[in-house]
Every structure is written in structure tokens, then in C-alpha cells.
Amino acid sequence: MEIIAKISKGSNMDQIYIPKIRYGLNVGEYVIIKPLKEEKPIERLYFRNINNIEPMKLEIIKEIIKIIDKNIENENIIITGSFLDKGFNFNDIDIIVITAEIGKKEKNIDNIKEKIIEKINIGSHILILNNKILLDGLSKDPLYLLMLSRCISKKRFIYKIKKRVNYKLLDLHLLKSKILINNFDFLNGDEKYYSLRNMIAISFFLENKKINKNSIEKEIKRIFSLDINKIKQNLINKQDFIKKYKLIYNGVYKKILSGIKNDTKQKQIN
């Protein structure tokens, strides 16, 4: 005799309700309770541009994958962001869930976030995407390229994309970096770093340069003669920094505007 039942939450103890009218499983008998779906152990993970990671972080990633697998049917789970940097100086874990069921399962995100906090006590930022949006983003958004240039995933993923420069979109993204020019004193080190990184990534994208964390940080160091940690710790000389920042911003902005102009001309010819 087997019965499938759901565990429900109780005040002191959780419980499983089973129908009163049944064959066997009498009151007072001892029974075995086990999950309906056998948990498959995660056999291996796939690493992209990661040479070294703390074993503890790998365990955390495996636990996160287990939690997500239980809650969302997915094609892949990708862990990215500062969690993968050396050490434990991260705020939260960036997770991308690739699923065909985008839109339907958005409500599950809060549930997953809660479970991750319950299990490992770390906050998470979860993005639910389908393959189409992911590939679309990778073809035209420098920050997508940056995000996936270094990651760990549940399954191997190979993306071959045709780069498409959408100047209007880049214009919109660059606008986010404009904040730093007028609000230097107001922003903290991390916010300054993200504005800077965004601007350099857009510039690299326009110049067909390889986009990854190392290449961008190398460029920031080269232009500003500044250590990345100093930027993040907000230890920057305003005058010197803003002067160079404005120069680069205006250069990238001009390139985008000429791109828009050329695109319009092209459309008119066509």
C-alpha cells in the first residue's frame, strides 16, 4: 500500500494528512516517509573562466541548484557575479535560471530566495530568462557578455552569437553612467565602480574588444591609474577622476550618436 500525500505546515510540527478510509497503514503503525522524487546528486558543474574557487562556495552552489531544481523546471542554472571572486567579499549571489516557462514561474522567485536564506543564510538575486532573451541579450548588450564571461553552470552551454550593435539601446544603457558626473559626492564606491564598468563595457562593445571582468578592470586601471579596490572603497580624487570620466563618456556618447545617424541614413537608403 502506497499513498502520495503532501507535507503541510503545522505550528509545532509539520504533518502529512492521509485519508481516513484506506486499506492498511493503520493508526499506530510505523511507516517510512520518503520523497516522491529521488534527489539526483549533482554530478558535475561547468566552469567558464574560473580557475579557482573555494570548496565551500561549490557546496553552496550545489545546494542552490538543488533548491531551484525543486521549484522551477529549468534548462540551466548559471551562477555569476562577485560571489565567484576570490574571498568572501560579496553581497549576494547572482543566479540566472534558464527556463521555457518564463512569466509563469516568476512568483516562485520569492519562495526560492526565502529557501536559500533559510538553508545557507545568503541573499540572492535571481533572474529568470528563456534562451531567446539570453541570446538576444548576448548579441547586443555588453553587460550580458560581461555577466556570462565568468560563471559556473549546471549544464554546459555554448553560445554562438552574431553581434548586433543597437545604438539606441546602447544610448539608453550609457545614460545610466551619466549619473556619476552629476552625483560624484553622493554615490558610494560600488555605485561609482558599476557606472564606470558599464561605460567601459559599452566602449569595448563599440570597438569590438573582448569583454570580460579582467579586460575591463585593466582598462580602468590604465585610464585612471587607480586600483579597483580604491574605487570601490570610494578613495578617489574627484577632480582628476571626473575630468577623465567626462572625456570618455563624451567620446562614447558621440560614437553612439554617429551610429544612430548612420543607421537612419542606411534605413532611408534601403
Binding site: L127, D136, M147, N166, L172, K178, I179, N182, D263, K265
Partner: protein, 115 residues
């Protein structure tokens, strides 16, 4: 003190201008609507968020500003937004709707409790 208030209003105007320009440009790239809705740029503090913080420092903080201030701020933002968008239009950017400016500025002023 007045000078300080004027400076705060100036920075507030700059941020709200950026926010309105962003909203209007976002509407102009309709074909990328799905992709833009991905909310993955979580690290970025938005111009509207900064504007709200500056607003809290401008007196009176808890009630709408006097009518004279509102019209001064509104006019200045509209002028700045138009200038920003016209630069783009002059380069051939086609889907920008200048008629949206007034509505968007009014909404932004409400969101920041200016009006």
C-alpha cells in the same frame, strides 16, 4: 541657506531630467521591450532614486513645494529634457515622442512629491 537650497534644487533637476529622458527613450526602443524588462541591472541606482533622496533635503520636505517653485522646476526640467532629446532627433533618432515630455515630467514630479 538659500544658496544651499538652490544648489539642491539644481542637482534634483539634473537627476529628474535624466530620469525622464530615460523613460522616453525606453519607450522609443519598443522592439526591445521584453529584453529591457529583465531587471538585471540591479547594481545601478537610478536617477529617480537619487532625485528622491535630494528631494528629502529640500524644504518643505513633507508637503508639495510652493506653486512658484513647482513651475520653476517643471519649466527647467522640460527645457533640459527637450534639449537632450533634440540632440538625438537631430541625428536621426526617429521614434522619440516630444509630446510625452509634459506628461512624464508631471508624473516624475508627483513621484518625488514636488507637486
Amino acid at each position: 541657506m538659500t544658496q544651499n537650497r538652490n544648489k539642491l534644487i539644481d542637482i534634483f533637476i539634473g537627476n529628474l531630467t535624466n530620469s525622464v529622458v530615460h523613460t522616453i527613450l525606453e519607450k522609443a526602443v519598443k522592439e526591445d521591450k521584453d529584453y529591457l524588462a529583465d531587471k538585471y541591472r540591479k547594481e545601478f541606482i537610478t536617477s529617480l532614486e537619487i532625485a528622491k533622496r535630494y528631494r528629502d533635503k529640500i524644504n518643505p520636505a513633507n508637503i508639495p513645494l510652493p506653486e512658484k517653485d513647482i513651475s520653476f522646476i517643471k519649466e527647467k526640467i522640460i527645457r533640459k529634457v527637450k534639449a537632450e532629446l533634440r540632440i538625438r532627433i537631430s541625428r536621426g533618432y526617429q521614434e522619440i515622442n516630444l509630446n510625452e515630455i509634459d506628461k512624464e515630467v508631471n508624473e516624475a514630479l508627483k513621484k518625488t512629491h514636488i507637486s
